[in-house]
Subunit: 129 residues, 2 copies
């Protein structure tokens, strides 16, 4: 059992999705929107290129917590705001800081960023530890 | 532009993940925990078999909203509670009911279930319409 105190940081998770990731995530998640998998289409609607699925980035936020907890079933609640577009071939960094502890429940403030581009903000996660 | 009123239901999303889905989602999301991809391991820890990733089910909740909005960038906020384990080869049904409308922002109460097994509960989503 891990022991957490308010103010603790969870281990940072860093992951760099490769160029083919959005297509694989599209096929696995069922979200085949062309802005994720069709470079020409993405550019035609004003994007610099294919963008990551927001839920892929959210999955990394979840993973930072389940890995910290050491239990894939530990995550009980997750809330995020989607505030920026993420791109393949750029490192995603997930950070989380403990903001409350009640018994075996730990609540964090969490976000995901690519450089200065904070793609997921105001996240809140609750897990058992 | 869609027009929503409090009490409206979004189109229901139904999807049945096949037996190979957890492995594909694992590889695409980076969450390779064996409870999702190793039947023997899953059984050894008391599960009836491999379970779905919670974030896969959450992705279906997100998709119900982006498809209703007709815009993959419409989803601004998503919060869920993970309350049951989902399984491949069983239909997931995502339902959402509008509980607030403010300008172009629509807020729903949403959940995902497999039969009577409500795997994602107390969901709240906000999207632009």
């Amino acid at each position: 059992m891990a022991s957490y105190q308010v103010g603790d940081s969870l281990p940072e998770l860093r992951v760099t999705p490769d160029a083919g990731l959005p297509r694989r995530y599209a096929e696995a998640s069922g979200d085949m929107n062309p802005i994720h998998i069709d470079e020409e289409f993405a550019k035609s609607v004003g994007l610099p290129g294919c963008i990551l699925h927001g839920l892929y980035s959210m999955a990394q936020v979840a993973r930072a917590h389940t890995e910290a907890a050491g239990d894939p079933l530990a995550l009980k609640r997750l809330a995020v705001q989607f505030r920026g577009m993420g791109f393949p071939e750029q490192e995603i960094r997930v950070t989380a800081t403990v903001k409350a502890v009640e018994g075996d429940r730990v609540v964090t403030a969490t976000e995901a960023a690519q450089g200065d581009n904070r793609i997921i903000r105001n996240g809140e996660a609750e897990f058992t530890a």
